[in-house]
Subunit: 195 residues, 2 copies
DNA sequence: AAATAAAAATGAACTAGTTTAGGAAATAGG
DNA sequence: CCTATTTCCTAAACTAGTTCATTTTTATTT
């Protein structure tokens, strides 16, 4: 239970849970430790969990036909990550989700998620809210890609997600922002460095 | 009530509602008729409704700094449309949502949505499910843009959303698929026409 | 049915960002 | 502390898709 507190506190930000409900919820959760470079989701395999990051960093990406990587999401402490469409439809994933550091997760298995939504209907509200936020986040990201140039997107990301920018490799950042690592390098060197 | 049946049936696909609940739900809904070229959402104004299309066609798009249009979504009969992030955070919209034909909508006002989620908690599940689907849809769209070429995306869309493709102008389709109308025209004429 | 406006097609010049291939610098592991 | 691997930088050639200006076709209005 001790170790599961972070995620229970997280959920409690959105719905009020009694102590009993918290205990019940805890039975649906499990701690997972992964090493750097380890995958928690891989294309072709059904994504079985929703994962909350207690410690560490992850990125979700896919590889296109030409072998190019496209990063779709990052997650550090207090974020969630998974292949969403694989998880909800229980169909083979398209994404890799890879640990960028040695990390600790709290995971909820798909079947358990269905069970706890039935047994603790309050949690429907939690799921609804975080899904709405994820959707709004995605929409905003999409819009940013339309309205801004490569350089603006870079600046925006650096100021908004400083913590993430510091922890992920540049090739991952470039492939998140939608351009090549070479071009990221060009942007960086175009700036008047303060170091 | 009669006129509101389509959306009540839609919701009933996801959650079982008693007749009383259906009647209660109906009090939260309203019919809106709009003419071609009319906007139901505009940048700068808070998006107040979630809209279900009974009849007609819509597109959601934004205009970037260079004046270029980017279409984010289409909606025809039995689809929902709105500026999602504006709606859930009740902040000014970034999108235009425009009627492509004379149309009929069933709308749910934001405040009413909050009320009915509290008064009929069953509907949390409905909201959760359709939000999850919207998110999965968005993710798939994003992935398709990475893994396919302009031409493949065009083919994919034509076969998957034939009904929509027939009803929306080509400039709208091009700006949805992520290239210029001139390029769409080029793709079309590159194909061996069957007409 | 004519007049007007909107949408679609064409082709040539253009450009943002990619690709490729090299080497330098930094990190991690033993 | 030394070696290997990963990450980062540079520069030139390249290309998918854009832009612009003009024409043809298709809708819409009177």
């Amino acid at each position: 239970m001790e170790e599961l507190l972070p995620v229970i506190d997280y959920i409690s930000r959105y719905v009020d849970l009694t102590d009993d409900e918290k205990k019940h919820l805890a039975t649906f959760l499990k701690i997972t430790r992964v090493k750097k470079r380890q995958f928690i989701v891989q294309p072709g395999f059904v994504c079985k969990h929703k994962s909350y990051v207690v410690k560490g960093a992850f990125r979700g990406y896919l590889i296109d036909k030409q072998g190019k990587e496209h990063t779709l999401s990052f997650a550090i402490e207090d974020w969630w990550i998974s292949d969403y469409s694989s998880l909800i439809y229980q169909e083979p994933a398209t994404l890799f989700v890879e640990a960028l550091e040695d990390s600790v997760l709290i995971q909820i298995e798909y079947e358990n998620m269905q069970r706890f939504l039935e047994e603790i209907p309050k949690l429907e509200k939690f799921e609804r809210i975080i899904t709405q936020r994820a959707l709004a986040f995605q929409q905003k990201r999409l819009l940013a890609n339309f309205t801004s140039t490569a350089e603006e997107r870079y600046d925006e990301f650096m100021s908004k997600y400083t913590a993430i920018a510091k922890r992920v490799p540049q090739y991952a950042l470039a492939s998140y922002l939608g351009f090549s690592k070479e071009y990221l390098s060009k942007i960086r060197n175009g700036k008047t460095s303060k170091s």
